[in-house]
């Protein structure tokens, strides 16, 4: 009996401590944050991580997906001219498009920034329109504008005695067309990011620069750009990833033609994997983006970390 009495309070105390520690754990900010992000983590796990590993697994199989071939698919791709054409085109497409998006976004952000606050919201809204329309829909409109036989652009140019221009029929023009549509779609994203960044640059810096006699160009070079560096780097990286993985614009406008000159990784992977019923080879093509983007990410993010440490 004595033993029972002595034992009982101990047991109650242990359970209470457990409950208390659970309560403390739940009260901890990090636990709450983890629980709140858990649905998203699970979603990413199911929709991103699992497919990523599955595509890695697929890339190591033979065409009928019955046998492990290791890096055989990649070896096969490396010996193909068309694949290297796709690599070249993907790099041209992504780098050119991101450069122009950044440039146009930067210029337009400055214009918007200089508009009085009252009218700014209207312009911001209008300039965001290309970015908020799903590209699969807006590209259809571009397809009509570039249509080989009924191009509205060619009709307009013909009134000036120019053309007709083979927008999607000639390799160089087709490359230009898909890049143009991508720039049109993506520039507003850069614009809005740069605008937010511009607004956070303290006015005192510009005042100090003005006192020092800095001209317009010097103010941009020595004040604006250094203050926007991190945003520029992150936006560029983000856009580079999205542009490299683009599918809809090329698929709708040219389906990779003429003569495969506008294929990028995603459209070529679709052509080989789905239309050619060779899913492992298609998976290998799409995975080829990973090392390219990883190298870009290392370079761009390393720079950000350096400045972070200096700060």
């Amino acid at each position: 009996m004595m033993v029972d009495v002595a034992f009982q309070p101990n047991r109650v105390g242990g359970a209470a401590r457990k409950r208390q520690s659970l309560r403390v754990a739940l009260k901890r900010k990090s636990t709450a944050a983890f629980l709140m992000t858990l649905p998203l983590i699970l979603l990413i796990g199911i929709l991103v991580v699992y497919p990523a590993f599955y595509s890695l697994h697929l890339a190591t199989l033979n065409k009928s997906m019955q046998r492990f071939v290791g890096l055989g698919n990649f070896q096969f791709l490396f010996k193909r001219d068309t694949f290297w054409l796709v690599v070249e085109q993907s790099c041209i497409f992504a780098i050119t498009a991101v450069l122009f998006k950044a440039l146009i976004g930067f210029v337009v952000a400055h214009f918007i920034h200089n508009i009085p606050a009252k009218g700014q919201r209207k312009w911001r809204g209008m300039l965001l329109v290309p970015w908020v329309i799903p590209p699969a829909m807006s590209t259809l409109a571009w397809l009509w504008l570039f249509d080989p036989s009924y191009s509205a652009f060619n009709y307009t140019l013909s009134l000036l005695g120019i053309g007709p221009i083979p927008w999607t029929g000639d390799a160089d023009w087709a490359r230009f067309s898909v890049i143009l549509v991508n720039v049109w779609y993506g520039a507003p994203f850069f614009m809005i990011m740069y605008l937010a960044s511009l607004k956070s640059v303290p006015d005192q810096l510009y005042e100090a620069a003005a006192i020092d006699g800095a001209n317009w160009w010097q103010r941009i070079w020595y004040v604006t750009l250094p203050m926007m560096r991190n945003i520029i780097a992150i936006t560029t990286l983000f856009s580079l990833i999205v542009t490299f993985a683009n599918f809809d614009i090329v698929r709708i406008l040219t389906t990779g033609g003429p003569l495969d000159h506008t294929h990028i990784f995603a459209t070529y992977a679709f052509r080989i994997g789905i239309e050619g019923s060779d899913i492992p080879l298609g998976a290998s093509i799409s995975l080829f983006m990973v090392p390219i983007l990883a190298i870009a990410a290392v370079f761009i993010l390393r720079d950000i970390n350096k400045r972070g440490n200096e700060a």
Partner: protein, 483 residues
């Protein structure tokens, strides 16, 4: 209070219950024979899906099966994505409509349907060679040819323009209710007509892009010259006179086609005809059907007819659909029963009529329905669409190469790309070499990466890869090294 059951009472109760059970009528549930799911091709002719739905429901009511139909569009290749997803998941519809190459591409996962195909052939007549080529593997039928979605992509000409500019009366050449009088309808006549219509300002609308309509036309023209990139045994036959002739023919033809033909997709030729800008396109009657709605003055001048013949015969592109059953389907017996029901002539006629004559049955005895003679305007415009007098060979581009190789040639539009490069001035040898290299790699892919269906065959391929020969080439090529 408990009442004890006596032995006598127990025996009496048991006997009564047994008698009641035996004599009671069998009440069959509405879905006693289980469930059946199907993924059919989503027809673009309004109302055509309804005919399929009605037929399936009729069968389901008779057989007491619960049915569920998904209509899957081919726009954006959604049907191809569904096929790939179901093959990966090993789960999906009990019946799935697959176009052209896909039964072969998934042959390892297909339930053989010889048990229903053989009686159907006896009943409905033979199927054409392309259906055999695409639907059979080593004597195993991979699917039942479906009339829904199957099509011939033959010429659809403007009666007035062909008469005026090329001096060809297409109605006289292909009269309603009578065999074609098309002996003079050759590739030479076709080329002269293309030139005349081009000069007259109404060029033929034949594309050179990478989509199927463009590839199909190139395939039929190559075959009419006897030009094959890979033969039925898997030998490379790129560097041959036949391929050179076909490329030369295309070079002459391209000069008379619209300047932007290299950028054409599958909608471009339809627009070309409907807008009244061209004298001929190569398409099933969908373009004419759109013209009937949007440009009746164009539609009433359209005539669908046979392909011109080349030195090796008259070939027309035929793209069949198949109704297939996965080997992991849950209700294979019900699926086969439905496929037999849908392949009866009465059912096929209903579906063909609902499609306005667009759909083409593959069985010999099902190509003379009234609908093709009656559709119009002009009346009888589709009479020769199903090739009722069998005066052309129905074929598919890249055949007779082994289907898994041919699919790669077809999907990558190797034929139109070769024609375009040749036209743009790349030398014949370089061009043929390019095709050769490309196809050789495809062949390498097939054998080295092993898509052979059975293990023994796969091991054989890997251990002793089949030699590849260039027919007509001095260069003896052994196993591809991937140059």
């Amino acid at each position: 209070m408990s009442r004890k059951l006596s032995r006598r009472q127990f025996v009496a109760a048991t006997a009564l219950s047994s008698a009641a059970l035996i004599t009671a009528p069998y009440v069959r549930g509405a879905h006693a024979a289980g469930k059946l799911t199907m993924g059919f091709w989503d027809h673009w002719v309004p109302g055509a899906n309804k005919a399929s739905t009605d037929l399936v429901n009729e069968w389901a009511a008779k057989e007491k099966v619960e049915v569920s139909i998904d209509y899957i569009p081919s726009q954006g290749n959604k049907n191809l994505l569904t096929i790939a997803a179901e093959a990966q998941a090993k789960s999906g519809h009990d019946i799935l409509a697959m176009p052209t190459w896909w039964p072969h591409a998934n042959s390892e996962l297909m339930e053989p349907v010889n048990d229903i195909m053989e009686p159907l052939i006896k009943q409905n007549g033979e199927v054409n060679g392309t259906v055999q080529y695409l639907g059979q593997l080593d004597g195993k039928w991979l699917g039942v040819p479906s009339c829904v979605g199957s099509q011939i992509k033959g010429p659809c000409s403007r009666i007035d323009l062909m008469k005026k500019l090329a001096n060809i009366d297409v109605q006289e050449m292909y009269p309603v209710g009578a065999p074609p009088k098309a002996d003079n309808w050759t590739m030479d006549t076709f080329l002269k007509a293309a030139e005349a219509c081009h000069k007259g300002g109404f060029p033929f609308g034949i594309g050179l892009g990478e989509t199927t309509d463009n590839v199909d036309t190139a395939g039929a023209i190559f075959q009419s010259f006897g030009a094959q990139l890979v033969d039925a045994k898997g030998n490379l036959t790129v560097k041959t006179d036949a391929v050179r002739q076909a490329l030369d023919f295309y070079k002459k033809l391209i000069a008379f086609l619209p300047a932007d033909a290299s950028a054409w997709d599958d909608a471009s030729n339809n627009r070309w005809l409907v807008s009244g800008r061209g004298a001929m396109i190569m398409n099933p009657p969908s373009a004419w059907a759109v013209a009937r709605r949007d440009a009746p003055q164009v539609a009433e001048q359209c005539w669908t007819h046979g392909f011109p013949s080349g030195p090796k015969g008259r070939f027309a592109p035929f793209l069949p659909y198949f109704w297939t059953t996965w080997n992991f389907s849950k209700n294979k017996e019900a699926a086969k029963s439905l496929l037999v029901y849908l392949s009866q002539s009465a059912a096929v006629e209903k579906m063909v009529t609902a499609s306005g004559g667009y759909d083409l049955p593959s069985f010999q005895k099902q190509t003379t329905f009234k609908v093709w003679a009656e559709e119009g305007p002009p009346k009888g415009t589709l009479f020769h669409y199903p090739d009722p007098y069998k005066h052309q060979t129905l074929s598919i581009a890249a055949s007779p190469a082994p289907p898994k190789v041919a699919q790669q040639i077809y999907a990558r539009a190797t034929l139109t790309k070769m024609c375009l490069r040749h036209y743009q001035g790349e030398s014949m040898e370089k061009d043929a070499g390019l095709g050769g290299r490309r196809v050789r790699r495809l062949y390498a892919e097939l054998s080295v990466r092993s898509s052979c269906s059975c293990r023994a065959e796969r091991d054989r391929c890997n251990a002793h890869p089949p030699p590849i020969r260039f027919v007509g080439s001095r260069r003896a090529v052994g196993f591809p090294t991937g140059d």
